[in-house]
């Protein structure tokens, strides 16, 4: 039972330890889980409130647990903890071993004790029985002695003879189970010997040890003469051979007889070999007295009163055998009986000598003779059996300790390993992050380093284009240039990405005009949209302030990215960019939802704009509206749309919709990811909605600060010439009409929109206002040719006819309309500058014609005619050519061969309007000459100012500064800087190039 209990206990302890380990591990793993969680969760975009709360809770929790973990690490350094654990483990095993040993020992001793008790019990029992039986025999022998004294000595003549005695003793043998025979010897004094011998008819014989096998009483010698004799007269049949033997002649018998008559008690001999039977036996002797003696009688009295001696022979060996057979467990123990009167040499009376020195018990035996001591020694026959119970119990305990130790060890190892792994992982993570940062930095650096030489390459290619090339070469150069530009833009994109990743991108905060940026972007894409025949339009709400503070470059980049994508994937339909204030959009969303489905720019269905900005923060979260402006910009297209499976990774860098898309449209796939980052930097959000084959709508918000001043300034000055004019837009589609109205209004004009030509006509004829401009959608104009021609003629015939324009998408707008004289065509996308230019052209104001045309030679002549110009060059031919060229434009040219001459010629007062100077000249180069000239001028200027020179002498010019332009063959930046440093005003390439010459000269002569 106890064994099972022990095992149960061990199992329970093991379980407990396991549970502890498990919970410990769980805390660690949970910890890491939470850390992971807190890292991963913020990436998700479902920022519902509860979710955020939950994340926050997790973060706090994980922070705490990590803190605990930290403490734990702090307390137990790795090494310390390991040795500590090891010591504990060894201690534990030692304890287990000791415990098992103790249990073994304890159980063994317990068993031994019971065994000993057993032995003692058995031994005592046997001893008692033996003693009892012996005493019974003893008593009987004593009784017999009384019988003899009564009937032999008390009667005269004796009532007993040998025959009677033998018969009696034979018949009462059962009363004395331990005796094998009884005999009576009478006391005969030497004086009575002869009489006695006569009376008996035999001589007293001497007891001598003779050949045992041939015991013959006849051969025995007569006893020698002694003071007294003790011849046996009666004997039981079994010992009849001892009759006539003198007991006093036997060594043992004599001593026994003497002792018995002195003591008056039964006396035992030492074990002796019995005559004739040759067995080991003990003789008990009682003295028979003449009269009753008091118990305190002296030995002398007793000797004097002695009549005879009764002796009983005890055959111990057979007797004990008989006795033990009565007991059941004879087989289990050995019994030995010893006479230990002489302690140093005990005489064995019974039992085999067994050398086994195992457990032994000794019980004393009292046979009634105080001078003789006997004892019984008992011993188990078999050695103690193996203590299986103790061994298995202790072994079980040992095994359990080892197991627990092993579990403990394994747990510690596991924990250490997990911890090591954790450290390793965190180190690796750190390294990976470092590597990522390093990668970004490397990319940034390398991109930058590539950009610089690339600019050189592009510049050189530009210059190469200006040199004389045949058609093939020009084609090559153009290709190289285009490739170079593509490479630079790609590098820029990568650089941006790297900058964003390494967190180095910072936004500028400058004032900029939002509408201008959109105009720029529109003109950038106008070519492509016209080529494809897509309608491209921008609408900016009137509530959006004129100027904003932010980073125009980056904003433009976002717009360009989004519009570029749209253009790339749109083959028909429209791309429509709208800009609103966020508050405004929030209001309008509620209102606009229903009619939006069909009412789009090109009439094609589009993706839902509202869905694209679903996840955005509500507008009222924006702080102070007077300081910051949140714009919501959406780019809507009717392109291919984004496949559903690709929508989730659209903002991941380098992820495109698919490889086929890449092959079809090119691009690196980082545009959108950069845009997203930039939008985030602008505190905005970006989202999209896309329906495959219908189109996509990207919407983003951006926060700009609002420069409150100057908002009153309103419209730009240049458009003032159209201010107050009246325009009519004929367009059945309200959205498109709204866009047109927006652009025309930017010119300061009043705009009415009508849906058809007939209503336009009625308005024109009936209206009280004069209408200056009529803009008609191409679609309306084409729909009904007769109607439109009618319209055309009616307008023409009216007094003060308005200018007529057709708004078209595609570039092929120069076709003839209906065979009649076609009205002017404005190709969309609409933008202010283009609109203004078209209107100007149509209204006949030719003012700005010069500016956008190529620079005519005429204008150069206009600039140079009559100017007096000094040309300085040491090279005659160059001088002559330069002079010739300038003369051709009507300038008056004076030549100088070297710097010195130029200096003297340019000493004020002089009448030169400009000077072209070669740089590399012998003796004095152009820089030095210029410096001297400037020094001279400075000197004279100061002196005039101080009045030391009269103004009249210097042609009434108080500030002399003749424009000096360097002529150089190699136009390098360094030269340019040096030119400016030495006081020159600019440089022209040599030989002259009309464009450049015009640019430089116009700076001074306009």
């Amino acid at each position: 039972m106890s064994f099972i209990h022990l095992i149960g206990f061990g199992l329970k302890v093991g379980h407990l330890v396991l549970m502890l380990c498990y919970s410990f591990l769980t805390v660690i793993s949970l910890n890491s889980l939470f850390i992971n969680d807190s890292q991963m969760k913020p990436n998700n975009n479902n920022n519902t409130k509860s979710n955020k709360l939950w994340i926050k809770f997790l973060e706090i929790f994980s922070r705490n647990t990590s803190k605990i973990h930290h403490y734990y690490q702090y307390i137990g350094s790795d090494k310390f903890r390991k040795t500590w654990w090891k010591k504990l483990l060894i201690l534990w095993i030692a304890f287990g071993t000791l415990l098992s040993l103790w249990v073994f020992w304890y159980m063994r001793s317990q068993a031994l004790e019971t065994r000993k008790d057993n032995l003692t019990n058995m031994c005592d029992e046997r001893a008692r029985m033996l003693q009892d039986q012996f005493n019974v025999s003893l008593n009987h022998v004593q009784a017999m002695s009384i019988l003899i004294s009564t009937f032999h000595h008390g009667k005269s003549p004796s009532a007993i003879d040998q025959e009677t005695f033998a018969k009696y003793t034979e018949r009462t043998a059962f009363e004395r189970p331990l005796t094998s025979g009884v005999a009576y010897a009478v006391r005969v004094l030497d004086s009575e010997r002869e009489q006695f011998e006569k009376q008996q008819g035999w001589t007293i014989k001497k007891m001598t040890p003779v050949n045992k096998d041939k015991y013959n009483p006849e051969e025995l010698e007569p006893s020698p003469i002694q003071p007294e004799y003790a011849p046996v007269i009666f004997a039981q049949e079994t010992v009849a051979h001892v009759i006539s033997l003198d007991m006093l002649t036997g060594m043992e018998d004599c001593e026994n007889v003497l002792r018995a008559r002195e003591l008056g008690k039964g006396v035992l001999t030492a074990p002796l070999e019995l005559i004739k039977s040759n067995r080991l036996g003990v003789i008990l002797t009682f003295a028979v007295y003449k009269r009753d003696l008091p118990s305190n009688a002296t030995p002398e009295e007793r000797i004097e009163a002695t009549d005879g001696y009764l002796g009983g022979v005890f055959d111990i060996e057979s007797l004990v055998e008989k006795l033990l057979q009565q007991l059941a467990s004879k087989q289990t123990i050995y019994v030995n009986v010893y006479d230990t009167t002489n302690i140093s040499n005990p005489i064995s009376m019974y039992g085999v000598d067994v050398t086994d020195t195992g457990l032994q018990h000794v019980s004393p035996l009292n046979f009634g003779d105080p001078s003789r001591k006997h004892e019984m020694r008992c011993r188990f026959k078999q050695k103690q059996r193996w203590q299986t119970l103790a061994i298995s119990t202790s072994f079980g305990i040992f095994v359990i300790t080892l197991l627990v130790g092993h579990i403990f060890h394994a747990t510690i190892n596991r924990i250490a390993k997990v911890e090591d792994d954790y450290h390793k992982m965190s180190k690796l993570k750190k390294r990976a992050e470092d590597a990522d940062v390093a990668k970004s930095e490397f990319l940034a650096t390398v991109s930058h380093e590539i950009r610089t030489p690339m600019n050189g390459v592009l510049g050189m290619l530009d210059m190469l284009m200006d040199t004389v090339l045949d058609v093939t070469q020009q084609d090559y150069v153009r290709t190289a240039q285009a490739s170079g530009k593509a490479l630079v833009s790609l590098i820029n994109a990568v650089l941006d990405q790297a900058k964003i990743e390494s967190g180095k991108l910072e936004l500028e905060a400058v004032r900029f005009d939002l509408r201008e940026i959109f105009d720029d972007v529109l003109s950038l894409f106008s070519g492509k949209s016209q080529e494809k025949g897509i309608e491209l339009a921008v609408y900016i709400s009137a509530k959006v302030p004129e100027t904003l503070t932010g980073d125009p470059g980056r904003f433009r980049q976002i717009i360009t990215n989004l519009m570029g994508n749209s253009i790339k994937f749109t083959e028909k339909g429209h791309i429509f960019v709208t800009v609103h204030l966020l508050e405004e959009a929030a209001e309008s969303i509620d209102v606009e939802t229903e009619p939006s489905s069909k009412d789009t720019l090109s009439g094609l269905p589009v993706a839902d704009r509202n869905r694209s900005c679903e996840g955005f923060r509500p507008a009222n979260q924006v702080e102070d509206p007077s300081e910051s402006v949140t714009l919501i910009i959406s780019v809507e297209d009717t392109g291919a749309g984004i496949p559903l499976e690709a929508q989730h990774r659209i903002f991941t860098p380098f992820m495109q919709v698919g490889p086929s898309i890449y092959r079809m449209h090119g691009g690196t796939g980082i545009g959108l990811s950069i845009s997203k980052c930039l939008v985030n930097l602008m505190n905005g959000e970006i989202g999209f909605d896309s329906v495959p084959h219908i189109g996509s709508t990207f919407t983003f918000t951006a926060v700009f600060s609002n420069p409150n001043e100057q908002q009153v300034n309103g419209q730009p000055k240049s458009k003032l010439e159209f201010c107050g004019m009246q325009a009519v837009v004929v367009d059945p589609r309200p959205v498109r009409a709204e866009v047109s109205r927006y652009h025309i209004q930017r010119l300061g004009m009043h705009v009415e929109t009508v849906s058809s030509l007939t209503s336009a006509l009625s308005m024109l004829t009936n209206g009280s206002q004069t209408v200056h401009v009529v803009l008609i959608e191409e679609e309306v104009w084409d729909r009904d040719s007769s109607n439109s021609s009618l319209f055309f003629y009616k307008l023409r015939n009216s007094d003060n006819p308005p200018k007529l324009f057709i708004l078209t998408n595609s570039i092929g707008g120069s076709r003839q309309y209906n065979g009649i004289c076609s009205p002017a065509v404005i190709t969309k996308p609409l933008r202010v500058s283009m609109l203004a230019a078209s209107l100007q052209r149509a209204m006949g104001s030719n003012r700005s014609n010069d500016r956008n045309g190529e620079i005519p030679k005429l204008s150069l002549s206009k600039l140079l005619i009559g100017r007096k110009i000094l040309v300085v060059d040491d090279n005659n031919v160059n001088l002559r050519v330069a002079a010739g060229a300038l003369k051709k434009y009507g300038a008056e040219v004076v030549c100088a061969e070297n710097g010195r001459k130029a200096i003297s010629l340019l000493k004020p007062p002089h009448s030169f309007d400009a000077c072209f100077m070669d740089i590399q000249m012998p003796e004095m180069d152009g820089f030095e000459a210029t410096r001297t000239i400037r020094d001279n001028e400075q000197d004279i200027n100061t002196r005039i100012q101080h009045g030391s020179l009269s103004l009249q002498d210097y042609a009434n010019v108080s500030n002399w500064h003749v424009p000096i332009l360097a002529m150089t063959a190699d136009v390098i930046q360094a030269t340019h800087e040096q030119c400016l440093k030495s006081g020159m005003d600019g440089y022209v390439s040599k030989p002259f190039e009309a464009n450049q010459l015009y640019q430089e000269v116009s700076r001074f002569f306009l």
Binding site: V468, D470, D873, D874, N875, N876, V877, N878, R880, V881, A882, G884, A885, K887, K888, D918, Q920, P922, A969, K990, P991, F992
Partner: protein, 152 residues
């Protein structure tokens, strides 16, 4: 009349070939454009000036390079001059060789300089011959009563 046309065609072909073979570049055309009624002999004037200068420069270069201690600065200055005037006149190949010449001067490579001098001389003589032939054609056209066509 037909001969004038023929001459004019020949003139155009010749000029085009000169352009194509790289003897002339647009600068020469520019020069031709500079010539007008007010300045009827501009091109010949400039070209003869160029020839004069060039002869002088070539002589200078030859003597400068024959010195025991060659003054590379001097040689470079001459080469620069020569390059400048050549580019002004539109003698493309001469200009190119001059650029090489300058390079060798900067590297102070006497062998290269001497080789370039030979090359420059050769190119110059070629150019001179071609140009003289061109002028002869021009004269012929003028004598035949035609006008010199402009070659773009």
């Amino acid at each position: 009349m037909s001969s004038v046309l023929q001459l004019q065609r020949q003139f155009i072909d010749y000029t085009t070939s000169l352009h194509n073979e790289g003897y002339l570049d647009n600068q020469f055309t520019e020069l031709q454009k500079l010539q007008d009624e007010s300045n009827p002999d501009f091109v010949t004037e400039v070209v003869s000036m160029y020839f004069e200068d060039s002869d002088k420069l070539l002589n200078n270069l030859t003597t400068a390079l024959q010195q025991r201690n060659v003054d590379y600065k001097q040689v470079d200055a001459h080469a620069h001059q020569f390059k400048g005037s050549s580019s002004s006149i539109g003698a493309k190949r001469v200009t190119n060789v001059c650029a090489h010449f300058k390079g060798f001067c900067e590297a102070k490579n006497l062998d290269g300089c001497l080789r370039c001098l030979q090359q420059v001389k050769q190119e110059y003589i070629f150019f001179r011959n071609k140009l003289e032939a061109l002028f002869r054609l021009e004269q012929q056209i003028l004598q035949a009563g035609g006008s010199v066509p402009m070659v773009e």
